[in-house]
């Protein structure tokens, strides 16, 4: 198996020598440990019976493994991710059980013994804070308004937004009960996208993806905020591994070429690598044109067990994992009291990657490597060549003189 460790360079906080930079040129494509450069990705909506339900199944088949991502807006938007070590594994849905009060066992990936890793993520609540008269950097970023429970949202039929060409689908929702009419012209969307090979989207934050990951783009568009200076946030819950919660760590990265002026990368790992991961740049955007001037800081709280209050249940998570699970939750908040914010254009967009294996690691782009190679190589070569030339000339001179 070909393994290229070069990409890990991108994060090493010291200056690589030109030769290492050059060698990086040769191997710049990162590979996950599951190690599939390309995967056969299929995306289908599994229709429920009798009325259609949103159950989106992404199946990514590699040479010796299969990844399953099951997205659903049954209850709050949630995803179950499963990695298997065979190309033959399949998803089995028992609809009548899934729609019953106790859905345990309604969702199965078969054969069961091929499962290498499984976890789940639930987007439970949309948070809103009043950030007037709040100084920068405080947590929470203001007085909280009552949050919107995403379990009480109604969602569009995802079949209509399924785009097999780009392997994407959009869940668009608004509260079922909206007495103030805040969502009269607004919606919250989750755009889910899968990839058959590694690459990078054109829009910032341009997260590097492999064939092993799924990208989620959360956008809040057009909803009326409850104050003039509202900051929004998202509560995300995940399955805890044992008694402890996984942790979100923030890494420094010297490379901000794809997300200008963002020098951090946040990552949540379920257990030790290779396992599942969530990865994002701590940046959101307040305008559809995601330029640097509309960039908002994105703060993630630490994960904490959710014993204090009941989380809305996600039927698909219960269906796969059973009902006895301990959840951990954390909050993401977007923006700061000063600077750009949701109030500018009533727009907020944030992207993250969800995947299995080793998280994709950015490496220097060929442009950076090329410029550096030329910039350091040219004066060096000139010095060497010139020195040699002068030396030879000097020799010739002295020979000439000696003959004379």
């Amino acid at each position: 198996m070909l393994r290229c460790w070069g990409p890990h360079w991108g994060w090493v906080p010291w200056a690589p020598t030109p030769w290492l930079l050059l060698s990086l040129l040769v191997c710049t494509v990162p590979f996950g440990l599951l190690g599939e450069e390309t995967r056969q990705v299929s995306m289908e909506v599994i229709s429920g019976w009798p009325n259609p339900q949103n159950l989106l199944h992404i199946r990514a088949v590699g040479s010796n493994s299969t990844l399953h991502y099951v997205w659903s807006s049954l209850g709050p938007p949630a995803v179950v991710l499963v990695a298997t070590n065979t190309t033959q594994s399949v998803l089995n849905v028992n609809w009548s059980l899934l729609l019953s009060p106790d859905p345990a066992g309604a969702l199965m990936v078969l054969p069961k013994n091929s499962i290498q890793f499984s976890s789940a993520l639930v987007f439970t609540r949309l948070l809103e804070f009043d950030s007037t008269n709040v100084s920068e950097g405080t947590q929470p970023p203001g007085k909280p308004y009552p949050p919107y429970s995403l379990a009480k949202f109604s969602w569009n039929n995802v079949t209509n937004s399924l785009d097999l060409a780009t392997l994407s689908a959009i869940f668009r929702g608004h509260p079922v009960d909206d007495p103030t009419g805040a969502f009269a012209n607004g919606s919250l969307t989750f755009k889910v996208q899968a990839f058959s090979r590694s690459g990078r989207p054109a829009q910032p934050p341009r997260l590097l993806h492999t064939a092993d990951v799924c990208q989620v783009e959360v956008a809040l568009v057009g909803a009326s905020p409850r104050g003039n200076h509202s900051l929004f946030g998202l509560e995300v819950a995940t399955l805890g591994q044992g008694p402890d919660c996984p942790s979100v760590n923030e890494q420094d990265s010297i490379d901000d070429e794809y997300a200008p002026a963002v020098f951090q990368l946040n990552r949540l790992l379920w257990g030790s690598s290779p396992s599942g991961f969530m990865q994002w740049r701590p940046v959101a955007f307040s305008q559809e044109q995601r330029a640097r001037e509309s960039a908002l800081a994105c703060q993630a709280s630490a994960l904490h067990p959710t014993l204090a209050y009941p989380l809305p249940h996600s039927p698909i998570v219960q269906a796969f994992f059973g009902s006895q699970n301990n959840f951990c939750a954390f909050n993401l908040t977007f923006g700061a009291p000063t600077g750009p914010g949701y109030w500018d254009q009533h727009y907020l967009c944030w992207s993250m990657l969800l995947g299995i294996g080793f998280p994709p690691v950015d490496s220097f782009s060929p442009l950076v490597l090329g410029i550096m190679a030329v910039a350091l190589g040219a004066p060096g070569l000139m010095f060497l060549g010139g020195g040699l030339f002068l030396l030879l000339r000097h020799k010739q001179y002295s020979e000439y003189q000696s003959i004379n």
Partner: protein, 464 residues
Amino acid sequence: MEEEDGEERALLGGRPEADSALQGAPRALPALCDPSHLAHRLVVLLLMCLLGFGSYFCYDNPGALQTQVKRDMQVNTTKFMLLYAWYSWPNVILCFLGGFLIDRIFGIRWGTVIFSCFVCIGQVIFALGGIFNAFWLMELGRFVFGIGGESLAVAQNTYAVSWFKGKELNLVFGLQLSMARIGSTVNMNLMGWLYGKIEASLGSAGHTTLGVTLMVGGITCILSLICALVLAYLDRRAEKILNKEQGKTGEVIKLTDIKDFSLPLMLVFIICVCYYVAVFPFIGLGKVFFIEKFRFSSQSASAINSIVYIISAPMSPIFGFLVDKTGKNIVWVLCAVATTLVAHMMLAFTFWNPWIAMCLLGFSYSLLACALWPMVAFIVPEHQLGTAYGFMQSIQNLGLAVIAILAGMILDTRGYLLLEVFFIACVSLSLLAVVFLYLVNRARGGNLNYSAKQREQMKPSHSE
């Protein structure tokens, strides 16, 4: 001769009164008012230093308030950097004209007052642009400011020559340069604080706060204008009392000289442009870089961003002395450029404490100025010096204007890493030119890299 020595001692020892009391006794005028006296010249020196303070203070106003300007005026970095570009555009031409205007048209006194007025008016327009929330007005302000700013520096030097020639001239030049750096440093560290105070008293941040802050900053320009007026009066008075001539730059610019410029001179130009475009635009953009990448507070980001100027203030005279004593200018330039390259690479590819890199940058910047500019005098004959220096400043301004815009664009679209890599490429081009200059000089047997001893030996043979 003896009197001169005495004055030199007094200036260094800082006890001018003692000396003046001894020598000035028989004269009617008190020492402070006697133009021929050291004490009086010290007053003039103080005024000369303050003359440039306003323009140097306000030049880097945008850099010190980068976050605020971008937020309050709602502009991206590309547009923000136009504020620097607009300063440089008029100077592409004025570098040739400044000396001519002072010598032939205005005279040194009126010239200084007029250029000071341009600086003042420019800063006021700049501030009004903030108050009226019109970015184009701010750009216009910087343009007008630019017309005055660089020519004022020429006028300042002319005054220095006229009052101190044959006396403490080098020291005076050094002091003026130090004062300029102090102006920049004070600006970097003061403006953010001032903005905070005005924000508190006005109740909110916004374009009005920005405008008022800039207007208050403009007080330094008024101060400089007052200095210009007082200097003009004193200069006229001295002319009457001592029957001396009005100071002239003596610069003769002949554009036809340009075709005679030699390859080494061209290389010096390339070194100069490629080097300075990697320093000044970087400092203009630096504050936010230190906040975003190294998570510095606004205050410490200002402090580190001004360290280059702080170091340069005391080190310029020291390095100047060093280069004078040792010669070998090309080697010194090579060291300075290579050190700058290392500093930029540290900033780009590491999270090491940026104080290290910025101090390196400060030292190398001071060293380069001392070793590079005098080289021009070794290359071109004296009657072409004016043209050569004018041309050098002109293309430096052209480079700064173009690169400022380019740097803003790179930053907005590709981020700081690529911006740093771009600066590295510029410095490396400069390094390439230095190496090439060394080789050309070696091959042609030029005098650029002579040690001080060799230069000493050359002198008598020339005069023979």
